[in-house]
Amino acid sequence: MAQPEQKPEQRPDIRPAWSLPAGEGDNIALPVEWPGEVTRDWAWGESTGKGVRVCILDSGVDAGHPLVGEVQRSVAVSIGADEEVVVEDDSEGDLCGHGTACAGIVRSLAPDCELISVRVLGAGFTGSGGVLLAGLRWAVEQGFDVVNMSLSTTKRQFAGLLHELTDKAYFRRTVLVASAHNMPVESYPWRFSSVISVGSHEEPDPMTFFYNPDPPVEFFARGVDVEVAWTGGARIRCTGNSFATPHMTGLCALVLGKHPELTPFQLKSVLYLTSSNVEAAGE
């Protein structure tokens, strides 16, 4: 059933403040429990991602695949006859296989996270940029904790709008994890600093990830020869940055499951401090 766009959740903890009157500093004192050294055990030890809502913005997800399990909600996004955004419950499953693959990777790292599928593919190539934008806007307005995006657009007309949207997500504590390009292509939103952009490394360990000191790609995660869930209950092996991305999404879900108070920039700092190359340098 088609639904009107929902109003943003009002979260009292993220109401904007525009200035700080004299003597008010104590009123915004924030309890900080950062350890002297941020280790992987501190970051996500014992976490299963429970309580974290992860959105898969992709081709749909085949719920019930043994590597995916339950999908808490599935919607499809399209643009209606009067150019209005239509978000409706989706029973199509996955039109390609990729969304199911991403969902399976996230669940393999964070087995107890909630999964929400937002399908933004299948309505044709023409207009797909608008659907991508509408799907992302909807996901941000729902206040999901993490959004996995293996999608990008090369159209400059969408760059400004996407930039606004990714900044909005950043301040509303929705972490966007986006696949980078492996070619020198100008595409968005992965190039924006308000998202976590991901490229691939060739190591077989899903928990190995690297911080890239030479951005715009910020992290490298497992993206080569990954066994993934696919449509029809299949398991296949895949390569691409779009499979590295859900590894970082799963890690974000693990960290937020243990430290739900973290903002996107604090989470990115935790990921930096627990990266395989940064940790190794400190040992």
Partner: protein, 216 residues
């Protein structure tokens, strides 16, 4: 536009479509050969119908696939086009739905495929697919980069082909026969030396006759 300029533009356009199509076929053939793959295909996005069209095919199925169409945003090629992300998948035959869809489109089911978007500036023009590379070793990021390089070449060739098609369509629609004249000029220009001179004389004589009739 002067007659001379129009003729010069027409001469540049006529025949280029075939050249750019050959270039595209060459990119598909080299991609297939470099990866030691069974087949390679280049799909062009038809923006008017929102479909992907087989524009060049190297290897298995070349004769039957050219010109075949399918929806632009479904399947693996559709995903790659919409997301602008390359994808390499192996053991695809484990997915019964994929196998059925693919067999209906191409007549055979590959075990693995590499697919990469063809991007030219802001535009996504199509998709390059390389099917059934030998699975002797784990796929590497070096191969992924190589695939990207071929995609750049294919995107340039597709862009040229589309421009040539548009230009030819404009010439044909102009209704002034410029395309016919330009084709004739191209044909004469491509003749061997000993045949070109008589050809030019023949055209000069034809022009003389036409002018005389016009004057009389």
């Amino acid at each position: 536009m002067s007659d001379e300029l129009r003729a010069a533009v027409a001469a540049g356009v006529i025949g280029s479509q075939e050249t750019f199509r050959s270039l595209l076929e060459s990119v598909a053939e080299v991609s297939r050969a470099i990866f030691g793959a069974k087949a390679a295909s280049i799909f062009l996005l038809d923006e008017e119908t929102d479909e992907l069209v087989f524009e060049a095919v190297a290897g298995d199925g070349a004769e039957t696939l050219l010109g075949q169409r399918f929806p632009s945003s479904t399947g693996i090629a559709g995903w790659v086009l919409v997301t602008r992300q390359p994808l390499v998948i192996e053991d695809v035959t484990e997915d019964p739905r994929f196998a059925k869809d693919f067999a209906e489109t191409t007549g055979y089911v590959p075990k693995g495929l590499m697919a990469v978007p063809l991007l030219h500036g802001e535009r996504a023009l199509g998709v390059l697919e390389v099917l059934d590379r030998p699975q002797r070793s784990q796929f590497s990021l070096v191969e992924m980069d190589l695939l990207g390089l071929f995609a750049n070449q294919a995107a340039i060739a597709l862009d040229l082909l589309q421009r040539a098609r548009r230009a030819e369509a404009v010439l044909a629609e102009s209704g002034e026969g410029a395309d016919v004249v330009a084709r004739l000029a191209t044909t004469v220009g491509n003749l061997e030396d000993e045949r070109r001179e008589p050809g030019l004389k023949l055209i000069a004589a034809l022009e003389e006759v036409l002018r005389r009739n016009e004057g009389g």
